[in-house]
Amino acid sequence: MAQEKSMAAPDLLRRAKLLKQGAEARVYRAEFLGKPTIVKERFPKRYRHPVLDEKLTHRRTVQEVRSILRCRRAGISAPVVYFVDYTSHCIFLEEIICSITVRDHIASIQQCDTSKDSELEQLAERVGQILAKMHDEDVVHGDLTTSNILLRRITESGEYDLVLIDFGLSYISALPEDKGVDLYVLEKAFLSTHPNTEALFEKLLKSYTASSKKSSAVIKKLDEVRLRGRKRSMVG
């Protein structure tokens, strides 16, 4: 593949601030076209065959931006995509300013002596609603955690303004199985990051069930997945 690689994005990122390094990508903060921007760079994995690596990385980059647009179209907040560089696999996204992760928010509420259960319940219900809306659009997030949901200030009406981020493992699927696994992954992450929140997660699922048109099949699948784990096939 004699593709001309643009060095423009790597050059910019060398001067940018590294926020996070994951297994898939590095996340930077930079200014782009005059706006505060988050740049997600998928780096090559040397242990994979280069052709396969290129293909997988490209596909994930494409899936990520597609899912973001699909969510936004349905009225679910997700960062605006400013620019995609398919040669260096960089996505330039709107920085969600004045926000904290739902994870940090829950932790800080739990820390307060005067436990505000009603506030947590409201938040859990809102998360359930958003996820229901997302699944109704057939977007499966693939990596649902409370760190991948941002809380952007509380609107005047007292409603939580939630922004979904990191669609790196997302895909489009209408199968209740995939959505069930999506919720199962969240359940695992939720209960392990926030101890003693079983009742709270129940509230989240309840609100999901009430908001989604196709929830009954998904919840049924979730019960199945809980018994067997997230992998369906036992081969290998």
Binding site: E4, F32, L33, R66, R72, V80, V81
Partner: protein, 235 residues
């Protein structure tokens, strides 16, 4: 500007034009403060104050942005209203006599939209992946939400009967000469680039980009438009 002219004899005004530096940062923000610095100063100092105001007036018209990804490239936007020679301009652009993208401002929400298109065009040019023949046609094409080139020109390029035009330049060095060349060619009134928002046809934009009411509730029209422009190649 009128106030300045009244204050000055003709000879001073000519001197001012000669004195007027290409670049200057204005310390003053309004005409009302003009009176104060003019009292009890030398002719030279007065001219300097006025010329700085003069430069500010001129420079606030166009908008130049250095591309962060391509630090040697700058994008300059200029907006004109009451344009009388749109047909002639379009013809010159087609023939390559004007090295700029001429855009129909009614399809623009905000100057940022143009920046996104221009940045993408420069990127595609550098990586040899442009879909159209020139950088400037690529900018127009990038504004469109779909991959139909002729439709993009029809909707986002200027038409013969148009009365307003957004001129977009991509350049490396100082732009003053390029800008003067454009202003000389366009017979119309230059207005601040930010005024583009008042020219945009929101209903048409929403229809063309297929922006749903649901989406507008959770984000701005500009967000919706920019997202579609950035992602259109993989939709």
């Amino acid at each position: 500007m009128i106030i300045i002219l009244i204050l000055m004899p003709q000879s001073n005004f000519i001197a001012l034009l000669k004195h007027c530096p290409q670049k200057g940062t204005s310390l003053l923000s309004g005409v009302t403060v003009l009176w104060f610095p003019l009292c009890g100063r030398s002719r030279e100092a007065r001219l300097k104050v006025i010329s700085q105001l003069f430069v500010k007036q001129l420079s606030s018209m166009h908008l130049t942005h250095k591309l962060e990804l391509f630090p040697d490239q700058k994008v300059t936007q200029m907006l004109f209203k009451e344009v009388k020679n749109a047909a002639e301009l379009r013809q010159s652009a087609v023939e390559g006599k004007i090295n700029a993208a001429l855009i129909n401002p009614t399809m623009l929400v905000n100057p940022f939209q143009v920046l996104v298109a221009a940045n993408k065009a420069v990127h595609l040019q550098k990586t040899g992946k442009m879909k159209t023949r020139s950088l400037y046609s690529e900018i127009i094409f990038n504004l469109s939400p779909n991959n139909n080139i002729s439709e993009a020109f029809k909707r986002f390029g200027i038409s013969d009967g148009d009365t307003s035009v957004m001129v977009v330049l991509v350049h490396s060095e100082d732009e003053s000469k390029l800008l003067a060349d454009i202003t000389a060619r366009v017979s119309g009134q230059q207005v601040p680039v930010e005024d583009v928002s008042s020219l945009s046809d929101q209903a048409k934009i929403k229809k063309l980009y297929k922006v749903t009411p649901l989406e507008e509730k959770s984000g701005t029209l500009l967000d919706a438009v920019v997202c579609r422009m950035a992602i259109k190649d993989v939709m």
